[in-house]
């Protein structure tokens, strides 16, 4: 137990709820425990055993799925002998005409770019920690940016969009689902699992305790 050691002048040993600003005394939780804010109930920490290795594995999986999703055909349609297959790049390039060009980049980024970037940022942050080594130099920035990008990575919304598009096209032509579509469906499950294992507070504590240079104020908790 390392709780109880705090300083109201400097904020040392304290945690503020990001949602309601209530102060809490920092304590090391046991695996499987969940800490909630006393005032608003926001989950402050929920460490899970082996979470780092799981998140690393899931991040690698999502990189592989995304790379596959780029190159394999996504959907194919045919009508009266005319056929067309499209990969994800085809989807984004549909906007490449004139003033719609910026949307190409935005769609590509939200569907493929950001999920891959986030996976790599997580790997960069977590691989040294899982091996028990000191974190990389920019681990804190990498993890913070990965969290900030989370709402903008929209793979799962893209899948629902595909479902709607399928219904609209059904009247016009026959549609076949390509491997890239199934890769995206798998990606939703992988992301959900990764989210379940993720505890930001634990990762921040680990980055700090594993010796990232901050301000020398960090204290490695002695059991």
């Amino acid at each position: 137990m390392t709780g109880g050691n705090y300083d109201l002048k400097t904020g040392e040993g304290l945690i503020a709820c990001p949602r309601c600003d209530a102060l809490h005394i920092e304590e090391e939780l046991n695996e499987g425990e969940t800490a909630r804010c006393v005032r608003c109930g926001t989950v402050l920490a929920k460490p899970r055993g082996g979470a780092f290795v799981q998140i690393i594995a899931l991040s690698l999986t999502s990189v592989l799925l995304l790379v596959g999703a780029i190159f394999f055909p996504f959907l194919e349609i045919s009508r009266m002998g005319f056929g067309n297959a499209t990969s994800l790049f085809g989807v984004a390039l549909a906007f490449a005409e004139g003033p719609l060009l910026p949307l190409v980049l935005a769609v590509l980024a939200m569907v493929i770019g950001l999920p891959i970037t986030r996976a790599f940022l997580l790997l960069y942050t977590l691989v040294p920690l899982a091996k028990g080594r000191p974190p990389h130099k920019y681990a804190a920035d990498a993890f913070r940016i990965s969290e900030e990008l989370r709402p903008w990575s929209m793979a799962e919304i893209f899948v629902i969009g595909t479902a709607v598009a399928l219904v609209k096209v059904a009247g016009l032509a026959q549609v076949h689902l390509g491997p890239a579509f199934w890769a995206f469906c798998a990606l939703i499950l992988v992301n959900a699992a990764s989210r379940g294992f993720m505890c930001q507070t634990t990762i921040w504590d680990e980055i700090e305790d594993a010796g990232l240079k901050t301000d020398g104020r960090e204290q490695v908790p002695g059991e």
């Binding site: 906007f95 709402p151 598009a165 921040w204």
Partner: protein, 220 residues
């Protein structure tokens, strides 16, 4: 379960500032969190200006998004007619096809959610920091969380247009092209997401009277 909840001490009342990215607490005049390098800022109603600015941008972009066509369908090289559909017309078309469930998804994602979000953000911005009871604060936080969660789902319609116009390129027979509304709708969704992200939920709780939990004890 503690029946006797002590008054809640916040970082702000203690003269400290909490990092909204990693939770660390710093003296009030610290500018950047030394642990995660995020910018630190106090819960202050002046920051609501950011919310209003992004919201205005989002609402302005939502107008052309409804007036211009989302996509243009050409059948037989335009001989058997080409049709342009705005968001609302797209929904009506889906109802004509008999796919009511999908029509509902598009209607909710492109019309109900954006408008409900505008209303919710305006309301949150107006009441933030104003006096509130604990119950009020909880329901406001709930609404904030819903707005934050649901905003990105409005992108569905943009993706639908992207997929359709990439896929339905059967030359002479039928082809679909994206319309200008796709861009302004995407921008509207993005701006509203930024607006929701710049709202500081800690303001919701600043409206509570000091030691409120003490007073509420007897009545609960």
């Amino acid at each position: 379960m503690s029946e006797n909840t002590p008054p809640v001490m916040t970082a702000h009342r203690a003269g400290l500032v909490g990092c909204r990215s990693c939770g660390r607490v710093w003296p009030e005049d610290t500018a950047i969190c030394a642990r995660c390098h995020a910018k630190l800022y106090k819960p202050d109603r002046r920051r609501l200006q950011l919310v209003w600015a992004w919201l205005a941008a989002g609402m302005i972009c939502y107008i052309p998004a409804n007036l211009f066509p989302m996509m243009k369908t050409q059948t037989f090289a335009g001989l058997s007619g080409s049709s342009e559909a705005t968001i609302v017309e797209g929904v009506i078309e889906l109802i004509h096809y008999g796919s009511y469930d999908i029509a509902l998804v598009v209607f909710v994602a492109s019309i109900v959610v954006p408008i409900a979000k505008f209303v919710a953000i305006i309301w949150l911005g107006v009441v933030a920091g104003k006096p509130a009871t604990v119950e009020d604060a909880h329901s406001r936080l709930r609404i904030y969380e819903v707005v934050e969660f649901i905003g990105r789902w409005s992108m569905i319609d943009v993706f639908v247009v992207a997929i359709l116009s990439a896929l339905v390129q059967l030359g002479f027979v039928v082809s679909i092209h994206p319309g200008p509304a796709a861009v302004s709708f995407a921008l509207s969704v993005a701006f509203t997401m930024l607006s929701a992200q710049s709202f500081d939920p800690r303001l919701i709780w600043r409206g509570l009277p000091l030691h409120s939990s003490k007073n509420v004890n007897g009545t609960e």
